[in-house]
């Protein structure tokens, strides 16, 4: 079920109203049933995979806790390893096996042809697998006790707002809320609905509109002028931000209406001045997951901490690339980010010295702008690989940008025939201005929500309606368009 569908428009209020209407003691069961239904709307049989992940991690946590009491530490480690391997094996089978087979065939020049595994990739498998694994690791590390109640734990893994595209929640945050239960709160409802409204705006008005242009250009990249490819890449960066950011906002909003607080997943990432900052603001739940469960254990175990930091970065981004998809394009995307991050780390001191020598004020506004633009452009460059469907396409795009760029082509009159007509382009431009202003305020820690709710009633309602009707009227949805799934569903 897509958030941007009429089905969800009916599902959400019905579930929310019933959730608060039924006795508190059965709410978790009800919400679990609704979450499973939400997932099964896509492919019912794949619910078995979630059930497998839930049961394995649930039981292993209980066993680990029991072994702890028995003082059998070594066995605990083995149980954890078994849990991780079994969960990753399912992920590997559905997501990476065919990729592995293809590469083995290529490496052996088709001498070793393994059978393919022809099943569709289960939606959100990377998200719920990582969430379940984080719980098992947390229990192993004594960050949280093992959960005895299977319903509570199953709801933690399958909580419908964040089930298929995150945020990847931590057991330390969401589980206590599920255990404690929630009650209806007007402020939560208002804040949640507003966040959902903003998410819908990002998805329907910006992301799906920009996709019309980006898809047109990337699908026909071989004949495109480099200037169009540059513009499409920049717009893709904005599209994917709004697409993924919108999902996170709708998920957080839907959870908030029911009284649950999910973690922030995006925090004005394109205003970042360094790659380190960018990754602290982009897909935060995944970045911190890697930080907590891969980077820190690596650094913690190695003696040479400086070298460990570099190794950790390379490892994290390599895995991050693979996490996004079984394709070398994603791996290169991850490696490029690793490269930028490693360079940034290596050049931090020389850069400071250089600024000092040249008398450049590191806090000057112009430098901040330059750094922000630089990081954004580098991120855009990495997105060429993220957006391309093959390495051939990615290098083709880079090649055309390098050799066939004539910015005059943007004004040739062809522009408005490439997916976005003049009116769509105008709407996209206005919406992007709104987005930039909103993100700028967020970046500077301005509390937009409280600014809005503090307005007089008429102004406040006018703003709500503006948000609602801009999505309803200017959104890209309905029979004229195919409803675009959220990009991150595939991961």
């Amino acid at each position: 079920m897509l958030f941007n569908s009429v089905d969800f428009l009916l599902f959400f209020p019905v579930v929310t109203i019933l959730f608060f209407a039924i006795p508190k003691r059965v709410r978790n069961i009800f919400l679990l049933a609704c979450s499973l239904y939400f997932y099964m709307c896509w492919k019912a049989k794949y619910i078995l995979l979630i059930a497998f992940s839930i049961l394995v991690t649930y039981l292993s946590a209980l066993v680990m806790e029991w072994l702890e009491k028995q003082g059998r530490q070594r066995l605990r480690g083995l149980i954890l390893a078994g849990t991780i391997v079994s969960n990753l094996a399912v992920l590997f089978l559905f997501k990476y096996y065919n990729f592995f087979v293809e590469n083995v065939a290529a490496l052996t020049q088709n001498r070793l042809l393994l059978p393919l595994f022809n099943f569709a990739l289960p939606v959100g498998i990377s998200f719920y697998t990582f969430q379940a694994l984080s719980y098992a690791i947390d229990v192993y590390r004594h960050d949280i006790p093992a959960e005895k109640n299977l319903i509570t734990y199953a709801l933690f893994v399958s909580f419908y707002p964040q089930l298929v595209a995150g945020p990847i929640e931590r057991s330390t945050n969401l589980m206590p809320q599920i255990k404690a239960g929630t009650r209806f709160d007007f402020e939560n409802m208002r804040a949640g609905l507003l966040l959902m409204g903003w998410g819908m705006f990002q998805k329907l008005v910006i992301a799906d509109r920009l996709a019309l242009f980006v898809d047109e250009i990337y699908n026909n990249y071989a004949g495109m002028d480099g200037s169009f490819l540059i513009l499409a890449t920049v717009l893709f960066a904005l599209q994917i931000y709004c697409d993924f950011g919108s999902y996170s906002n709708i998920a957080r909003g839907a959870a908030a209406v029911m009284g649950y607080r999910l973690m922030i997943n995006f925090n004005a990432p394109y205003f970042s001045r360094t790659f380190a900052e960018y990754w602290s603001r982009w897909h935060i739940s995944l970045s911190t997951w890697f930080q907590d469960y891969i980077f820190e254990p690596v650094v913690w175990k190695m003696r040479n901490k400086a070298a460990a930091a570099y190794v950790g970065v390379l490892l994290v981004f390599f895995i991050s690339g693979f996490w996004h998809g079984a394709s070398w394009t994603y791996v290169i995307w991850g490696c490029l980010h690793a490269l930028f991050r490693v360079l940034e780390m290596a050049l931090r001191r020389p850069k400071k010295k250089l600024y000092k020598k040249l008398g450049i004020n590191a806090k000057s506004r112009w430098l901040q702008v330059l750094e922000t633009v630089w990081v954004f452009l580098c991120v855009c460059f990495t997105f060429i690989f993220f957006r391309s469907e093959s390495l051939e396409q990615a290098f083709g795009v880079v090649g055309r940008i390098a050799t066939q760029t004539h910015f005059s082509a943007l004004f040739s009159g062809e522009f408005f025939s490439l997916g976005l007509d003049e009116k769509d382009f105008t709407v996209a431009l206005i919406a992007l201005i709104v987005l930039v202003v909103a993100d700028w305020l967020v970046y500077h820690k301005k509390d937009i929500y409280h600014w809005v709710v503090a307005k007089p009633l008429a102004a406040r309602w006018a703003l709500y309606w503006l948000l609602i009707f801009s999505s309803v009227i200017f959104g890209v949805y309905g029979p004229s368009y195919d409803a675009a799934p959220f990009i991150y569903f595939q991961f």
């Binding site: 309602w461 309803v472 009227i473 949805y477």
Partner: protein, 480 residues
């Protein structure tokens, strides 16, 4: 904030939002409907509804029934209308009016066996047939189409906002002002086509029967039940088109069905078509549709049959007789105007126009295109043609000559025509050039009886002929 205030505020906000959503949906909804002929008639004034697809739109002329049989009639059609849509259209017609007769074209029963593939029918039906008023019948039509048709997303596709919200790109006054319940269609759902395209006469003859698609039969049964329940006479017909052998078999089955149910069936499929003396060279506009000449023959024949069945209708009994008379006169006027609009000789064209005081010719010219013939024709009508840039409004009563630009709201609510002066004068219809000839004079012919501009013409000096571009409703849409 007190609890009461919050609850009250939330409910108020929700209700106002719903009202605004409803308003926006109605504003953006494409209200141009094929049922305007039905909706715009005074309630209870229609004696007969003729239901069917575009075959009805192009093949049935309701004004003729009024003149010949004193029966007030309207076409209730939609493109590629399948039987289930026909059922809901009949329900709509029976609710909206209180007709005595439903004349149903049974082309809808050939679904899956006709020259249009079912997927195509579904798609066309899906895009064009859901323009009835929003009510229970409308929602049921959506539900039915989803059940019967192919791969529909009823709520996303047919709720007005998802379906029409992209019309913000084409905002115009007509969206605000057009009202199918008040903007009369004096042709009453008839779509006039003069163009002729020769067809090969189908020569299939068979006694075999073929049962139509199961849902067509189910909905035909429902139509029969509905008419019976409402006490309405149901008559079947099959307006001529270029049919195939399978359709003849279906027609045979329908003949049996009609007999079984005691329903008159006037079919123009197979041998019955010969009664009409249709000329396959001149009476069709394409393989599916009759042109005006074919439609006239079919309607006159049907009118004869109806005359025998219903001899007692009198115009005086209809409370809206005056309106139907006026509409008939307008229909005749359309036929007259079409004769002028087929004229290619400038002199004869001007003669026709100036002979009728109800025509007005808005004319613009640049000096390069003034030929002797044109100058003579204009001067005969008192127009000085030697001005550098001339603008004239001509009619049989004389002319007004001026140098100023004409910018006329000729369409009223339907749009505008203006003249744009540049190197070549252009007639601009709804902001788009209406005719593509660069040189020569351009003119717009208006008719005070039909109360609209009829066409724009350009004089092609090189060919010495007039080029016409009709301001039909289709063309108006094209230029939007």
């Amino acid at each position: 904030m007190s609890k009461f205030k919050k609850v009250f505020g939330s409910v108020a906000f929700f209700l106002i939002t719903m009202a605004l959503v409803y308003g926006a949906a109605n504003l953006l909804r494409d209200r141009e409907t094929t049922l305007s002929g039905l909706y715009s008639e005074e309630k209870g004034s229609v004696d007969m509804v003729i239901v069917g697809s575009s075959h009805v739109n192009n093949g049935s002329i309701p004004n003729i029934y009024w003149e010949e049989n004193n029966i007030s009639a309207v076409n209730v059609y939609s493109w590629a209308q399948p039987a289930w849509t026909a059922y809901h259209y009949i329900r709509e017609a029976l609710d909206e009016q209180d007709p005595d007769i439903v004349l149903l074209d049974l082309y809808c029963m050939t679904y899956g066996n006709s020259y249009i593939m079912p997927e195509e029918i579904d798609r066309i039906n899906y895009e064009n047939s859901f323009n009835i008023d929003i009510n229970l019948n409308y929602l049921e039509l959506i539900h039915t189409s989803e059940e019967v048709g192919l791969d529909l997303r009823p709520y996303e596709d047919f709720l007005n906002l998802p379906r029409y919200h992209t019309r913000w790109k084409d905002l115009d006054w007509k969206m605000l002002t057009y009202d199918p319940h008040n903007d009369r269609d004096f042709l009453k759902g008839y779509g006039l086509i003069y163009q002729a395209q020769p067809q090969e006469q189908p020569m299939f003859e068979t006694d075999e029967r073929m049962v139509p698609y199961e849902f067509c039969v189910e909905y035909l049964d429902r139509i029969v039940d509905l008419c019976e329940k409402k006490g309405v006479d149901l008559i079947f017909t099959m307006i001529p088109y270029i049919y195939n052998e399978t359709e003849v078999k279906i027609d045979n089955w329908l003949t049996d069905y009609a007999q079984e149910h005691g329903i008159p069936y006037i079919s123009y499929i197979g041998a019955a078509a010969s009664e009409l003396c249709l000329d396959y060279e001149t009476d069709f506009s394409d393989n599916g549709h009759l042109n005006f000449y074919g439609a006239q023959k079919v309607t006159m024949h049907l009118s004869g049959v109806l005359g025998e069945m219903y001899p007692d209708y009198r115009k005086e009994d209809n409370p809206c007789a005056a309106q139907f008379d006026e509409d008939y006169q307008k229909y005749l006027r359309v036929l007259e105007a079409n004769e002028i609009m087929a004229e290619n000789d400038l002199g004869r064209y001007l003669d026709h126009v100036f002979a009728d005081e109800n025509y007005t010719l808005y004319l613009v010219n640049d000096e390069s295109s003034v030929t002797d013939a044109l100058q003579e024709a204009l001067e005969q009508n008192g127009v000085s043609a030697d001005a550098e840039r001339m603008c004239a409004v001509l009619n049989s009563a004389g002319s007004v000559v001026g140098q100023e630009e004409v910018e006329a709201q000729l369409f009223g609510r339907a749009g505008s025509v203006r003249f744009e002066y540049g190197e070549n004068v252009q007639v601009i219809l709804n902001d788009y050039p209406a005719i593509s000839i660069d040189s020569g004079f351009k003119a717009v012919l208006c008719d005070s009886i039909l109360q609209r501009p009829l066409e724009t013409i350009a004089y092609d000096a090189a060919q010495g002929t007039i080029v016409h571009k009709e301001f039909s409703s289709d063309i108006i849409d094209l230029f939007k």
